[in-house]
């Protein structure tokens, strides 16, 4: 039954999940804003980070919370290598560059899924006995599970950090300048490829952080990225492609809409609400909520 209590409870869970959706999506938004590329392997980046967290927990008994920075750092390197090894070449296409990028990264996604299946088998895994699992916080009768709460706090911290990096550092200025005019940036001696590689690294690190947290409360399997990737694309588009803080706001909206839909419709249809909100927003504002392109 819908009582005030259950409504508040659902909204609170939706908010926590929404913050995590924002963290998953922001890497995609960052990369898109920088170079107009939609990474169709974004969900697989998340999947790999979850496996990395699982691996550290099982083999070295590292708690996911401690593993998170390590996983983020490894994801950074991975993202930069993917840019330098593959995406850089896909950008050189003279004709239909958009499709080339979609299918280069789509091929990469299939490859990574296959690799995960090869290395870890298709079995469902989960991290047992982490510091966070099974714990929860109750505030005025609203029950907040510790893993999701930690994820939400990490997401807020990551967005704050990202804000500082973009606005207060030389790299942030170079990033902003490259997104405005990559050609002019080359004239003042900034290596475009280095900035792009850094952008990919940063994007992968952010989704890696999300993956480390999600490993504490979600099953880990080779296809796990696919469902979250679609939510991430919708989140980014809803916020407005390229808008980093649009992704933050849109993530929260997506989380709340999902929670509200699950209250009204059968839970199997909870994504329908998200999709409907996306369509409603872009039909009214064809560039998303905060898109300026």
């Amino acid at each position: 039954m819908l009582t005030l209590e259950t409504i508040v409870q659902s909204l609170a869970s939706g908010l926590l999940m929404g913050l995590l959706y924002g963290l998953i999506a922001v890497g995609l938004a960052l990369i898109f804003g920088l170079m107009d590329v939609v990474n169709f392997a974004h969900g697989e980046f998340l999947m790999l980070a979850m496996y990395a967290t699982f691996g550290l927990a099982v083999s070295l008994a590292v708690d996911p919370l401690l593993a998170a920075p390590l996983v983020a750092a490894a994801s950074f390197v991975f993202g930069a290598v993917i840019y330098l090894g593959i995406v850089r070449f896909a950008m050189r296409a003279a004709s239909n560059r958009g499709m080339v990028q979609i299918f280069a990264t789509f091929g990469l996604a299939i490859l990574l899924r296959g690799l995960a299946q090869f290395l870890f088998t298709p079995d469902y895994r989960s991290v047992q006995n982490s510091w966070l699992s099974g714990k929860s916080l109750a505030i005025y009768g609203v029950y907040l599970p510790a893993p999701q709460l930690a994820g939400a706090l990490i997401s807020i911290a990551a967005f704050a950090g990202l804000y500082l990096v973009i606005n207060r550092t030389d790299f942030g200025r170079a990033l902003e300048a490259t997104r405005e005019d990559a050609g002019a940036v080359a004239l003042v001696g900034i290596d475009k490829n280095r900035i792009f590689a850094f952008g990919w690294g940063l994007g992968a690190a952010l989704v890696g952080l999300a993956g480390a947290v999600m490993a504490t409360f979600f099953y880990i399997y080779p296809d796990v990225g696919a469902s979250f990737a679609l939510i991430a694309y919708v989140t980014v588009a809803l916020g407005g492609f390229g808008s980093v803080f649009g992704a933050f706001a849109a993530g929260i909206i997506v989380g709340l809409v999902e929670a509200i839909t699950a209250m009204i419709l059968p839970p199997a249809l909870k994504y329908v609400g998200i999709y409907a909100v996306y369509l409603a927003v872009v039909f009214l504002r064809p560039r998303g909520l905060f898109g300026s392109l």
């Binding site: 296409a93 299918f103 694309y233 996306y278 369509l279």
Partner: protein
């Protein structure tokens, strides 16, 4: 790069090549007796036709749809439901599916064609996914269990053949030929020129008097119609459908992939792409996928990535370049 206008001579040449290719394809079943290989042949021809249909909207008109699984599913469900619930023969079912899909495409095009680039692509994904979820939870259409098409006697009337794959091969070949011909005719028509203008620069096209919106709508309707015919055919071919096998997102990408890898916005791209990609997909799946260890995915993913990066203009570039150097 200079573009040579398709002259009458060039077009007659294309038509001759097409007749030759179709005749060779028609002779293939005489050589291929193995049922498994015949199965691959059916799928290859079907994907050539589906990708050709996608190419009309995605390639010529430049509207990248990643939601064509919707139209495919509508065709498959219309055919299967009309037959199982009302006893309507699949031929009428396919035609109805095509018509419904075209109408849906027009209704969806009305709001969606205001969107540009990735906003449009994501809207198409989201709409197809919504339909997928609704079908998955809709009991009347079989929900997640899907629909079994009851097997009766082999006949052309009910378009069912349990013993031989030959009729399916010839229908798929006919389907591929029709979509090719439709593309061939449209390419040189007023619409073909309008679509390319819309793709290259919508503002410039509009200012030159091209009705951009109507051009997109026409391309969407034609594209959806043939995609749904393919869906109806597939339902008859496999005799069982569920949302996962005809409406999942993965499927939308698979329809676009042959056109992209073969050569997007070209007459032969989808055919070439399907001829390379589908046998490769099926063969890697059955020879390397059996272990369940994902080796088939690794090979397939690497290949897609490699072709996309190494041949951005598509495999057709290999053929065209050779011909160009040969002519010099």
């Amino acid at each position: 790069m200079m573009k040579v206008a398709p002259t009458a001579l060039h077009r007659r040449h294309q038509l001759m090549v097409a007749v030759l290719v179709a005749a060779l394809a028609a002779m293939l079943p005489l050589l291929i007796k193995d049922v498994y290989l015949q199965n691959i042949l059916v799928l290859t021809l079907m994907y050539a036709a589906l990708s050709q249909s996608w190419n009309i909207l995605g390639g010529y008109c430049g509207q990248i749809s990643l939601g064509h699984a919707l139209y495919f599913g509508v065709g498959a469900y219309a055919t299967a439901l009309l037959f199982t619930k009302f006893g309507v023969l699949p031929w009428f079912g396919m035609a109805a599916g095509g018509a419904i899909a075209a109408v849906i495409a027009l209704c969806l095009g009305y709001p969606c064609f205001r969107l540009r680039g990735h906003y449009f692509a994501i809207a198409t994904i989201v709409i197809a996914e919504t339909a997928y979820l609704l079908f998955l939870n809709w009991e009347w259409v079989g929900g997640a269990t899907g629909i079994d098409i009851p097997i009766r006697q082999d006949s052309w009337m009910a378009f069912q053949f349990a013993r031989s794959k030959l009729p399916y091969i010839y229908f798929a070949l006919l389907f591929a030929c029709v979509t090719w011909l439709v593309t061939f005719v449209l390419e040189d028509s007023k619409w073909g020129y309008w679509w390319r203008a819309v793709k290259d620069d919508p503002e410039a096209a509009e200012s030159l008097g091209v009705v951009v919106f109507h051009s997109k709508m026409a391309a969407a309707a034609v594209s959806a119609f043939f995609t749904a015919i393919g869906g109806g055919f597939y339902a008859q071919f496999v005799a069982y459908i569920d949302p996962d096998s005809v409406m999942s997102f993965h499927f939308s990408l698979l329809m676009a992939l042959p056109a992209v890898l073969g050569g997007i916005g070209t007459l032969w791209g989808p055919v070439l792409g399907a001829a390379v990609l589908i046998p490769l997909t099926e063969l890697t799946r059955s020879y390397m996928g059996g272990s369940g260890r994902g080796i088939d995915l690794i090979v397939y993913g690497t290949l897609v990535m490699f072709i996309a990066v190494a041949r951005p203009e598509g495999l057709i570039g290999l053929v065209a370049r050779r011909r160009a150097t040969g002519a010099n």
